[in-house]
């Protein structure tokens, strides 16, 4: 091969490579967008349902085995530093504590997008609904009381399962999520109980719309502090934070106020 031909060939190679790269970029553009959508939509669906939108709660305080108690709940949660916008959620719920242990609850609320730019994103809010069952597996005092040096300490280990649903999270996307967790609470002090809690869990999003969103599994960690038996013995206040270990989901902070109706 003569030198001019080599030069032309080299040019051709550069052109070919450049063209290939341009073509690949052109082709991969929509794929990257699709990949991002595939990654971010399941996360959004988790953030949009009560499982990821509302603050975590401590396990229920032990109570009489002869009574079933109704509880009424108000929760506010804000998920921050998740990207361009924050998510603010407010919800009310009703709980039924059976024989001093397990709780079955229903939740309904609304989520708003904060700091949202209407020209770029869909800024409309949406409703959200959830159901949750929490089972106290072990409630005791001795070991934890010794560790924390409080003779009145009680530790509770439980398990919980929740289902969340939020219609129209974005256009034609309905969010469905299911989670399972293994919460642990430690309550201290005598009259008003100071409770610290941690709620590790795993959440699955389920495609319940026609958007063909791939289902993903994410891990959650909630933690917080609470005061139980405030005022007239049935009032509990919890502050909590939650992290979803997937993508840029930031942190969620919130407060829950629960009133248990005692006889």
């Amino acid at each position: 091969m003569t030198p001019p031909i080599r030069i032309i060939s080299a040019f051709a190679s550069i052109h070919t490579a450049r063209s290939f790269l341009l073509f690949a970029a052109a082709m991969s553009g929509p794929s990257l967008v699709r990949a991002q959508a595939a990654e971010s939509l399941p996360v959004l669906t988790v953030e949009a349902t009560p499982i990821g939108a509302l603050p975590p709660l401590a396990l229920p305080m032990p109570a009489s085995r002869d009574h079933n108690y109704w509880g009424f709940r108000f929760q506010v949660g804000q998920r921050r530093e998740r990207g361009p916008e924050d998510l603010l959620t407010a919800a009310v719920g009703i709980d039924y504590q059976v024989a001093g242990g397990s709780i079955f609850g229903l939740t309904g609320g609304h989520q708003w997008r904060q700091n949202c730019q209407p020209s770029i994103n869909d800024c409309s809010g949406h409703n959200l609904y959830g159901a949750r069952a929490r089972f106290n597996l072990m409630t005791g005092g001795s070991t934890i009381a010794g560790l924390v040096g409080d003779k009145a300490a009680t530790s509770t280990l439980g398990t919980e399962f929740g289902f969340g649903y939020a219609p129209n999270v974005t256009e034609s996307v309905h969010a469905c999520t299911f989670d399972a967790g293994l919460p642990l609470s430690i309550a201290m002090l005598e009259r008003i109980r100071l409770v610290t809690f941690v709620t590790p869990g795993v959440v699955w999003d389920i495609d319940c719309s026609s958007a063909n969103i791939p289902s993903l599994r994410s891990y959650l960690l909630g933690f917080g502090l609470g005061l139980q038996q405030l005022a007239f013995r049935g009032l509990d206040v919890h502050v909590g934070a939650q992290r979803i270990f997937r993508g840029t989901t930031g942190m969620q902070y919130g407060i829950s106020i629960t009133w248990v109706r005692l006889p």
Partner: protein
């Protein structure tokens, strides 16, 4: 927050901002706790002895005193009771002899069973009254020999009394209710193991005034009926109506699953529930001031609800047997893993003061809790 501060925080990394929010939240929570705790302090009520009409000491599950020295809480109870024995009533709330009640004479365990009962009888000062309520262990640990073991215990109490005013209530293996009136006090005693026992509970020697569940419930309803203004009605039995101890399905991995075990001694069992429902139905519309029990080896003061004002669990009479208790939503006071007893002073006015003593003491005082019980 002014503009400068806003600009400062905008420059901080995310972690710092998250930390700031967390710190604010924690500080607010601590402030709330401190503010709330200020409203609740255990008060040590100093009463003038001349203002007290009747004093009751409540101690349960004391049937395992240390063989080398009696020690607390029996010793401490005896000292307090000796201060004014003429107005003092000591109630032993069952499980007076561990592990199997009084065996037949000649059995190897007989002498030790006698020692266990003797330690409790000797704690009753001369001039004071002593009452022994039967528990499941006194019914030969809920075995077929139970009815005979209860009668043997009653006979042994009489033989150990040596001039003391002491007796078993209800007597002769009967379910009760047996009653005692001292001033404003109307004490109703029940043998709750009679309800739960799976073996013989009556024979030709029984001659009980009430010997079926229906007649016992009806008699109890009659006995808790208010009998004049200012009367203090207390019901004493071995099994609690509510507890945050092991018999309530708390404390330990097996807790909530004990309902599947069907142990009649547990709150979660069907037979125990049926008994409690009957007792509560007898209290309906005429709640006694307190239902006093033992069974769980801890000290608990609980809110009773509609059918009874207060529920007391005082089953920490033996230091060797103390157990865990959890604080429930109905709990006013809980003491776990400490021996102790309760004291109720019925005042000459209208007040009724409850005090809880536990050992070893917290700080210098063994008085752990006090509360004025409100008479409806």
């Amino acid at each position: 927050m002014d503009l400068q501060e806003k600009a400062f925080w905008a420059r901080q990394p995310r972690f710092a901002r998250a930390l700031r929010v967390s710190v604010h939240t924690a500080l607010c929570t601590v402030a709330l706790v401190i503010a709330a705790s200020c409203h609740h302090k255990v008060t040590i009520e100093q009463l003038k002895p001349e203002e007290i009409e009747t004093t009751l000491f409540l101690i349960g599950d004391a049937g395992e005193p240390d063989p080398r020295q009696v020690g607390s809480p029996l010793d401490s109870l005896a000292v307090q009771a000796a201060a004014a024995p003429e107005r003092t009533l000591i109630i032993f709330l069952g499980d007076n002899v561990y592990p199997n009640g009084i065996p037949s004479e000649g059995a190897a365990e007989w002498a030790d069973a006698r020692r266990r009962l003797d330690a409790q009888v000797k704690a009753i000062p001369m001039g004071a009254r002593g009452i022994f309520v039967p528990g499941n262990h006194d019914w030969a640990n809920a075995t077929p020999f139970g009815l005979y073991s209860i009668r043997l215990q009653e006979q042994m109490i009489a033989s150990l009394a040596q001039g003391r005013n002491v007796r078993m209530m209800p007597s002769n293996g009967c379910p009760g209710p047996a009653t005692l009136d001292v001033g404003r006090l109307h004490l109703v005693a029940l043998d709750t193991q009679w309800w739960l026992h799976s073996f013989i509970v009556r024979d030709e020697k029984s001659n009980c005034p009430a010997s079926t569940i229906g007649t016992v419930t009806a008699a109890l309803r009659e006995q808790v009926r208010p009998q004049g203004d200012g009367r203090v009605v207390l019901v004493a039995a071995h099994h609690p109506l509510m507890t945050g101890g092991i018999h309530g399905g708390y404390c330990g991995v097996t807790g909530p699953f004990r309902r599947f075990g069907g142990n009649a001694q547990d709150i979660l069992s069907g037979s125990n529930r049926a008994m409690r429902d009957s007792l509560r139905s007898a209290f309906f519309g005429q709640p006694p001031l307190a239902y006093i029990a033992g069974h769980d080896h801890n000290l608990q003061v609980l809110r009773g609800g509609r059918n009874v004002d207060y529920l007391l669990v005082s089953g920490a009479g033996a230091a060797a047997k103390t157990e865990c208790a959890v604080r429930m939503r109905e709990s006013y006071y809980v003491s776990q893993h400490r021996a102790g007893f309760m004291r109720i002073d019925i005042m000459k006015g209208k007040g009724v003061l409850l005090r809880v003593f536990r050992y070893p003491p917290v700080g210098t005082s063994s008085l752990a809790y006090s509360r004025w019980l409100e008479v409806r």
